[in-house]
Subunit: 307 residues, 2 copies
């Protein structure tokens, strides 16, 4: 059983069961890939791919297991390479962050800025997606670190660490009737048209739960994926916006004013997720610490767990 063979079956699966495409992606010849897959199947004594004559048409049940384990092996090999780089190519490498729009736009910038200054030779990439995409990218090894508020903790392979907490605020034009109130209530919010996040993308289910428990039905006229879009429509007078408090900046969002809502909703926690079995480069730990200064000890402890 050779590493190449595992790489080959993995790539063939990734390329939609197309050996030719896999061969091209791997910069090698088609017959080579075909041959090695046959040898692997022969050695294991089973078919990984279902064939209709000479066409690959599916993956067998054992094949599915093999592919899963092949991915694991390749991830481990990547880990080994990383250990090498960590000690021989210090502070040089790649960091891929997967996160949501809100985090990328409002929370990461300061950490990123410090990071690229501290580690000028590390190539930083930010993948953006919804929370479940973030989780799956980290789980599959496509991303090194995931940052999101929801659903990142579902996968057994992930280690999640609470990163920071945040709450919400209302944004509205300064001339809005609510703007003069000392303290906002859920009923106040319910009596005006509301614009907020798409439920799938943030702690939205939590927000809707709070309204439900209070017996208030918010009049949601529009939902959006990110705070910038929400603020735009608030500016157009379509309603008041309910957004993460870190998404409001007094100067930048000048025509709008904000009213804190921390007393109305429980805090939401944003989590940082990494694969449990990943070897974390020094700069990855540094990034995590930049983002959340008090987690590093825990993280190190967890990283060394398998010793």
């Amino acid at each position: 059983m050779k590493l190449h063979q595992l790489k080959y079956v993995h790539e063939v699966s990734q390329q939609g069961l197309n050996i030719s495409a896999a061969a091209e992606a791997l910069h090698t010849s088609q017959p080579g890939v075909s041959k090695q897959i046959q040898l692997l199947e022969e050695e294991l004594g089973l078919q990984i791919f279902q064939r209709n004559g000479k066409r690959l048409v599916g993956i067998t049940e054992p094949g599915r297991q093999i592919l899963k384990l092949a991915a694991q092996v390749m991830f481990d090999m990547q880990n080994i390479k990383r250990v090498g780089d960590e000690f021989s190519r210090v502070e040089t490498g790649t960091l891929i962050i997967a996160t949501t729009h809100t985090q990328a736009r409002y929370k990461l910038p300061s950490a990123v800025q410090q990071f690229i200054q501290m580690f000028p030779n590390v190539k930083l990439t930010i993948h953006q997606g919804n929370p479940s995409q973030v989780a799956s990218q980290v789980a599959s090894g496509e991303a090194d670190i995931g940052i999101a508020t929801e659903s990142i903790s579902l996968d057994e392979r992930l280690l999640t660490l609470p990163c920071y907490q945040w709450n919400r605020c209302l944004v509205m034009p300064s001339y809005h009737p609510l703007a003069s109130k000392k303290s906002i209530s859920l009923v106040d919010i319910g009596s005006h048209p509301l614009i907020t996040y798409d439920f799938a993308f943030t702690g939205g289910t939590l927000v809707s739960q709070v309204f439900h428990d209070a017996g208030v039905t918010p009049n949601i006229v529009l939902t959006a994926i990110d705070a910038d879009v929400i603020k735009t429509y608030v500016n157009l007078g379509l309603g008041i916006g309910l957004i993460a408090n870190m998404a409001y900046d007094e100067k930048r969002d000048a025509p709008l004013i904000s009213l804190d809502c921390s007393h109305l909703f429980p805090d939401s926690t944003t989590y940082l997720g990494v694969r449990r079995d990943a070897f974390l480069r020094g700069y990855m730990l540094s990034f995590m610490q930049l983002l959340s200064p008090d987690i590093n000890l825990k993280a190190i402890e967890q990283t060394l767990k398998g010793t």
Copy 2:
């Protein structure tokens, strides 16, 4: 980076940093091992082993990481082979159980008997050790399934499932003063010489805690690793024995009588442990189910977690 190279460094480490011994264990030549290790170190750009001239004298810090990951890769490769065997050599293979004396002697026999009847072509091996040895054998992949009452759940890599609960009983000669009592108390126990398990080997800390909370100091005259030894000394009149209730059989232990102590101590739970990332052969799941009929669904669910 080749699989052989990982195997080689792993074996050299296992053999106490002796390349010659590793080469012999791997049925290959010394120079080959030496060469491949050098190539691996060169490729990774670091030293795995500390050398004094030409002598290996230690493992470097990155080397420790590499060895850990090499073990992981080899485990994954073993998993792949297992998938092959599972589908091509059905109900044939090896099952290694790691467990403590008490389990091996009193709880496993019926499951083992059924198992070897159901799977005559599976070679069954039982490794015996104390709970922490059981845990480490499963964690390292030396054993497939571990069964113990304590400390099996410490390692992150292990998945533990509650298997069954048990409590304790007193054994003593029929002429013993306590034998005629209707209900035993902790004070009763404290007023007679006591023989029980070595604390390190069972729920002993729990037992001592119960005595402590009750303000009773047991007069422990002897501790032993297993119930058979304890019963032997009870037969000699050295004291009364406090053992697991499943370790007493009315017929076999005829001269001795037993008094149930379930009302004095909380139940202890025996756990079954497997590596989270292990591929479990069908017969392994069957064994687990034989031992504890209602866990199989959970186990399967957990096994498939990575899909």
